[in-house]
Symmetry: C2
Subunit: 346 residues, 2 copies
């Protein structure tokens, strides 16, 4: 099985040059950092402007240097405020195309909406890829059972580790020799997987259909690890989460949570939901399309806590649910995978 699965035919792809532009904070380079963390073998170097103050620890490469070393695609993995594609980014994208690189972007504004970028791509016969644009042909969800096993990461809120958890589960399952594929639903995940659908950019009627599309029937007994989005308890985005839950028809759920989060992301009036209520609500909704769905564990993002507190809270929450609870980044996901395999023996 290739790392990039069924999309190996698209012209853009690794090796990557990661574009950081003029980024000055960690949050704005989270797409690039996700790629460098999960697919280090694909990332040849980084490309930074003079005023950039953050680094991925990769070699700094000029565009022609990167091309000479074998880079195939420059990934614009740094967002301005609002995901806007400023003049600098446009100029650098054009320069990359002129240097012979394809260009992929996780920004909200699309490469294809800039005539000068489109012209440079045509001039150089290079490809443009907007990871946040949903392609055509997504069907309405049909709710029909399909073969294969699927695990969905759900969350108490946005940005609590749903993508990292799904990727960590993929890695652990593969290391143990189980067929397993991360299924991406957001722009960073799509750049990491080389495939996927940005479900929050899909027209509302097609969200469950998009989830069905990215995790089709699989006869090999392996697992699809589907990247969750949002939260059933987020007033802005819960509809996306529910459509994704129904379309995924998950056999297994992992609940993701950030224990220092005080309120829902962007909404100070809304407290983070109770963990048990959140798990129950997700299981109840998931039963509509898969009555046999099971909770497998809890994944905490404990980056805001000292190590001993992180261990304590994992133990406490694990005991509360009677399920494994770990931080996928600092502790791994081995106890979750043990429980997953034990829960689905064949």
């Amino acid at each position: 099985m290739s790392d990039r699965g069924e999309t190996a035919h698209v012209p853009w792809g690794p090796p990557y040059l990661l574009y950081l532009g003029s980024a000055t904070d960690e949050l704005s380079i989270k797409t690039a950092r996700g790629l460098a963390y999960w697919r280090p073998q694909w990332c040849l170097g980084q490309h930074r402007r003079r005023d950039c103050t953050v680094t991925l620890g990769l070699p700094d490469l000029a565009l022609d240097q990167a091309k000479a070393r074998g880079a195939n695609t420059m990934v614009i993995g740094a967002a301005n405020a609002g995901g806007v594609m400023g003049e600098e980014i446009v100029a650098d994208a054009i320069a990359a195309l002129d240097a012979g690189l394809h260009v992929a972007s996780g920004l909200h504004h699309k490469l294809r909406d800039h005539p000068a970028i489109v012209a440079a791509a045509q001039r150089n016969q290079r490809a443009l890829f907007d990871a946040r644009a949903a392609g055509p042909g997504i069907p309405v969800g049909n709710g029909r059972p399909r073969s294969g096993r699927r695990l969905l990461t759900v969350g108490t809120d946005c940005s609590v580790g749903k993508m990292y958890t799904a990727l960590a589960l993929e890695r652990s399952l593969r290391r143990r020799g189980h067929p397993a594929d991360f299924r991406a639903t957001g722009q960073t995940g799509i750049l990491i997987a080389g495939a996927g659908i940005p479900v929050d950019a899909v027209v509302a009627d097609f969200v469950s259909g998009a989830a069905e599309s990215i995790s089709p029937a699989r006869p090999d007994g392996g697992w699809d690890l589907i990247e969750g989005q949002g939260s059933l308890f987020h007033p802005s985005y819960a509809g996306v989460s529910l459509g994704l839950l129904h379309g995924s028809q998950p056999d297994a759920l992992v609940l993701c949570h950030e224990p220092t989060r005080r309120h829902m992301r962007g909404l100070p009036e809304y407290p983070v939901p109770d963990l048990r209520a959140c798990m129950e609500a997700n299981l109840a909704a998931a039963r509509l399309t898969n009555p046999a769905v099971r909770p497998i564990g809890i994944a905490l993002n404990t980056s805001g806590l000292p190590a001993h507190e992180a261990a304590d809270i994992c133990q406490r929450i694990g005991a509360l649910f009677g399920l494994p609870c770990e931080d996928p980044v600092t502790m791994g996901v081995e106890s979750l995978v043990d429980h997953l395999i034990a829960s689905f023996p064949n």
Copy 2:
């Protein structure tokens, strides 16, 4: 308060000529029938091709006749299979524009996507309106409480009477002297209201924001009657229903149901949910953005039942919930409105 509310500035609008084309079944003219039923004062006549076998009972008018009698807009209220805009419809839309009428459509395929229709509109300085196209500028939902009162019609399934119920409630409240506005979320409702957002055509991240937009703060103590969509229990569309529920922040819910329906629309494997479970799930989800939400009653579409069975089932379901239960079309909604007013006295 004008019937058309804040959209009186758009060029298209009543009086209407209702286009039935070559329709041969009732289902395909449901948009036209909805307009003729709910806004008879706006509907001057119908326009049919020779092979059309259905009628709204309105005068048959040629395009120039309709224009001479004061028609402003031809409404394409008949769908081919799949909502496709066939050659006949395109030719007739162009003829209507050439006769000096604006053209509005509730079809899935857009008027604006046909260059010949766009050219005819420009040539005649007439407007085109696609009721199924979501306009730009819809914000992300913010979940903040807002003034005014809102009632949302929710359902066990698609096509169980959510739009008719909301319109019947608007009519009854207005007759009793209460400020009340139907808020449309689907193409037929939008043509009836002259305003609204087709929430199933909105990008998924913006569904709750769309619901907030169409039912803004209102300081007059009146009611917004918001047209529900889909069902929390429909595997294809539940995400739309949940986003609409959260964005509406409803004070009151009316549950709509079609008692002869055996399975979810389009999905024979999925039974219609239990009425009480459906009401509870809607209330539980609605509490996220409005903890004080109350169930007000049940609206049944009993068109598939003899009159005495219809009366029986309304009584039985009403007793089960301890709430009024009526068929809005054959029985009216007076007991629901009585209970609504009693539940929210000021």
